[in-house]
């Protein structure tokens, strides 16, 4: 079904436009997507470092998240837009892969983590600053979330090499 959708999408006019201008359009969109990765990973990294106590200790956790979380959110919007454009530009190459869908699953997981963290911080600001931020389990969660981002980036690159998943990749069956 996904394959049929991808094939249909590739016949639509926005897709044909991108396919016909792929010499500059695709590298440009991908470059903006990578700049988005840098904004999101760099900003999220600063929040994790603060939770781990490795940087930004002159700032409260609240100050750190107010400074960096909007950049994570806006960076993600930028990646959503450029990501959708890449799918429109090369529907079959993107959608008919195992890597893409595992990546989307991890993006959903990490987004839920981030939203839950910001809600909790807003509600229990004091408790976060005084005790929660020093808790081992919270620090472990920060490291885990960072590793999920790393996994997302690797899977993004693996879309181009989906055959390495062997029988799990729908691309190899095509």
């Amino acid at each position: 079904m996904v394959k049929q959708f991808a094939e249909w999408l590739s016949t639509t006019s926005p897709s044909l436009f991108l396919q016909n201008h792929n010499a500059w359009a695709i590298p440009t969109i991908q470059s903006v997507h990578i700049i988005g990765i840098a904004v999101v990973l760099g900003s999220a990294f600063m929040i994790y470092l603060r939770i781990l106590g490795w940087a930004g200790m002159d700032q409260t956790l609240r100050q750190t998240t107010s400074r960096f979380a909007p950049w994570v959110t806006n960076g993600l919007y930028l990646m959503l837009v450029t990501g959708v454009l890449m799918v429109i530009g090369e529907p079959v190459r993107e959608l008919v892969t195992f890597s893409f869908w595992l990546k989307m699953f991890l993006v959903a997981v990490v987004t839920i983590f981030a939203v839950a963290f910001r809600r909790s911080l807003r509600k229990n600001e004091r408790r976060w600053e005084e005790t929660l931020v020093k808790r081992r389990s919270i620090q472990g969660l920060a490291i885990l979330t960072f590793l999920i981002w790393v996994g997302i980036i690797i899977l993004g690159r693996l879309i181009a090499y989906d055959h390495i998943w062997g029988p799990w990749s729908p691309a190899t069956k095509a």
Binding site: A23, I35, A38, L41, V150, I153, R157, A160, I164
Partner: protein
């Protein structure tokens, strides 16, 4: 050219390490991914510093404090990025070496180093005077703006390298590189059709 580097590049490609990476299904993609993670941290953390210099973000924090907090991570990420980049280069050295975008990228990287030196010689000397100010003096702002522009350029050139080189050892290097006119007109670059990676 005074020195013929091609034999050197060929011997780099022939090393056991380069061969191992070429022969592996997943080593090259893993190097690329690690390169992206590294460059994301380099550009991500550097732009935090640049925006502080420009007075656009973190204006309440001491510059000195931020720099000592953040730049060590930038350097660590830079080492990771350079190392993975070097390993990728060895797999197809003569093609990368002759690639126009690769050359522009290396030039831009050299310029970011020079830019950093400019900072040390100008605004870097008077940090004590503006450490708590919301932005750096004019020279510091110029360095920051240039840094942002050049790093964005480095990223764009890096992505274009992937579109204009191929790992196939048989591919002859495009002798004159790819001209910007070809790029702007959207016509395919000379030489073999690029393999998408």
């Amino acid at each position: 050219m005074l020195i013929d580097v091609d034999p050197l590049l060929k011997s780099l490609e022939a090393t056991a390490l380069a061969t191992k990476i070429r022969d592996s299904v997943f080593l090259f993609p893993m190097l690329e991914s690690t390169h992206v993670i590294g460059l994301a941290l380099v550009f991500g953390t550097i732009s935090i510093i640049d925006l502080r210099l420009l007075g656009l973000a973190s204006t309440q924090r001491s510059f000195q404090r931020m720099a000592s907090d953040i730049l060590k991570w930038t350097w660590a990420a830079f080492v990771l990025t350079a190392l993975t980049g070097l390993l990728m280069f060895t797999t197809n050295a003569s093609v990368y070496y002759h690639n126009l975008y690769f050359r522009i990228k290396m030039l831009l990287l050299a310029l970011t180093g020079l830019n950093m030196l400019c900072f040390e010689l100008t605004a870097g000397r008077t940090i004590r005077n503006w450490d708590q100010s919301p932005s750096a003096p004019r020279a510091g702002k110029a360095v920051a703006a240039l840094s942002l522009a050049m790093w964005i350029g480095v990223i764009c050139m890096g992505r274009l390298i992937g579109f204009t080189t191929t790992r196939a050892a048989a591919a002859p290097p495009p002798p004159a590189g790819v001209s910007f006119d070809d790029f702007l007109q959207g016509s395919p670059p000379p030489g073999p059709p690029p393999k998408r990676e």
